[in-house]
């Protein structure tokens, strides 16, 4: 009997070993693209959940979700997300994830709403598009010592015109009776775009094809600390520095050219945009989880600044309150405010050719307000079901100072309203 068990264990160990070598090989061969938070996220699991749950009895964790994001009169996104994590042994865990989304609808081109060019309807203020994207990723978490974990990750995503691949590594080390965890991480990603790239800051009707593909590299470096402040209070501080170089212009965006005094669109041909090919950014993030009776308050703040002159603040609050043993409710409020990029221009005057210019509203001064609520249900059979609805509103300067003449009468930043529905399911087994 014992012999059989031993053999079984040996076979299991071999299986685990081959799985691990396959996983590490695929990671090293640059499997897959990554989503920003994953490396850190899995550290969090490593540092806290791992010890809390103990692996052996329920080695699997599966998370699945579906989202529908709909903007009023603009784009809609349907997205599916799946992830599975398997505790392979006491010291090793492997996670795999897959994501699929479909985007369609109208997006602002960057041109102004008022087009006075005679005999034409002007260049469309909105452009319709449709795209699908698929992404896969993997993480391997392993213990370096009883107090230290290493997470290696790889990700890849692909759509018709865009491909992105990334690898990452993060080390987490516990100190102070596991009340303090330090994290250091680094990642590298390459984004490639395959389409006809037109000459920049050129009238769109005379622009010529400059390239048929472009790429961008990005390095992210992270230093973080998680501190248990009290029995029911956890603090996380994180600093992330990113360095991106390469093609960051949006090939789909345009800028209107207007008469310097009247603001009339004298030409039917707005300019293509151009952004700098370097971007350094820094994000400082703080989060506090605080138990309040049976509930938990999650508060976070992020300060962001980059070499394009953008400064942004994000404040986020969630409060999770149990209603019954199986049901909880979680209201959510998020406020975001950003300043404009140095080269953001709502329009250009005739003859004006700056070094860089973009009229993409996402680089303008803007504010986002979101409010939502989530319901969570834990059936007796185990697992957890969640359903969430959220409303997001984005506002900016409707009449910016750089608007000229007749353009001042137009609403140059129409409010964007979006509704987000999301359902999710999590199961341990």
């Amino acid at each position: 009997m014992q012999l059989t068990l031993k053999k079984k264990k040996q076979r299991k160990d071999e299986a685990v070993r081959s799985l691990l070598s396959a996983a590490s090989a695929s990671l090293l061969l640059a499997v897959p693209l990554a989503h920003a938070e994953d490396v850190h996220q899995h550290h969090a699991e490593g540092a806290h959940q791992h010890h809390a749950e103990g692996a052996p009895e329920q080695p699997w964790r599966v998370d699945a979700g579906a989202m529908r994001y709909s903007e009023k009169d603009r784009i809609s996104v349907s997205e599916l997300n799946f992830r599975a994590r398997r505790q392979l042994s006491e010291d090793n865990a492997l996670s795999l994830r897959a994501d699929y989304d479909s985007v369609s609808g109208a997006s602002p081109t960057g041109t102004t709403k008022i087009q006075t060019t005679s005999g034409a309807s002007g260049t469309a203020y909105m452009a319709h598009f449709q795209t699908v994207r698929a992404a896969v990723g993997a993480d391997w978490e392993t213990s370096l010592s009883p107090d230290a974990n290493l997470t290696l990750s790889g990700d890849h995503s692909s759509s018709k015109m865009n491909k992105s691949s990334g690898i990452g590594a993060a080390v987490a080390r516990d100190f102070n009776q596991r009340n303090t965890t330090l994290v250091a991480g680094a990642s590298y990603s390459v984004d490639a775009i395959d389409m006809e790239i037109m000459t920049e800051l050129t009238p769109s009707d005379t622009a010529t094809i400059r390239a048929t593909s472009e790429k961008k590299d990005q390095i992210d470096l992270q230093l973080g600390v998680t501190q248990v402040l009290a029995r029911g209070t956890l603090l996380q501080l994180n600093f992330v520095h990113s360095n991106a170089s390469g093609y960051m212009t949006n090939p789909h965006k345009l800028i209107s050219v207007v008469h310097p005094l009247t603001g009339e669109t004298l030409t039917n041909s707005p300019l293509t945009e151009k952004r700098p090919d370097k971007r350094d950014s820094n994000a400082l993030y703080a989060q506090v989880n605080h138990a309040l009776g049976e509930g938990v308050l999650y508060s976070s703040y992020r300060y962001f600044q980059d070499s394009w002159g953008i400064k942004a603040h994000t404040v986020d609050f969630k409060y999770r309150q149990p209603i019954t043993e199986k049901l909880y409710v979680q209201p959510h409020v998020r406020v975001y405010a950003q300043g404009a990029a140095d080269f953001y221009r709502s329009m250009l005057a005739v003859g004006e050719i700056p070094a860089y210019a973009s009229a993409d509203y996402r680089l303008a001064k803007l504010q986002t307000n979101s409010i939502g609520v989530k319901l969570g249900y834990k059936p007796s059979s185990g697992g957890e079901l969640t359903a969430r609805v959220e409303v997001m509103r984005q506002n900016g300067e409707q009449h910016p100072q750089d608007a000229i003449g007749v353009q001042r009468t137009a609403d140059l930043f129409p409010e964007l309203e979006a509704i987000i529905f999301h359902i999710g399911y999590t199961k341990l087994f």
């Binding site: 992830r83 984004d191 992210d220 992330v240 989880n289 969640t386 987000i420 999710g424």
Partner: protein
């Protein structure tokens, strides 16, 4: 100028005393006191799917990004 210096000194003293009082109040939480922290809802990311969808939405609608960890870049998507 003097006021500014005085204010800076006061703030420094305040911050230091704040740290000191926090330190004294902050006895390390013992392993047997971590029942609450071990709960799923006390994890830094209690709901991964929610976190993922949120980061996707805001990454494509705002200029700022990241802060929670490393990895990523993006899809260059609209």
């Amino acid at each position: 100028m003097v006021f500014r210096k005085l204010l800076a000194c006061l703030m420094a003293v305040g911050a230091l005393s704040g740290c000191a009082s926090m330190q004294s109040a902050m006895q390390p939480v013992q392993p047997w006191e971590k029942d609450q922290l071990a709960k799923e809802e006390m994890q830094l990311v209690p709901d991964r799917t929610e976190e993922f969808f949120d980061s996707r939405v805001y990454f494509s609608r705002e200029a700022a990004f990241g802060g929670k960890g490393v990895g990523g870049g993006g899809c260059g998507c609209n």
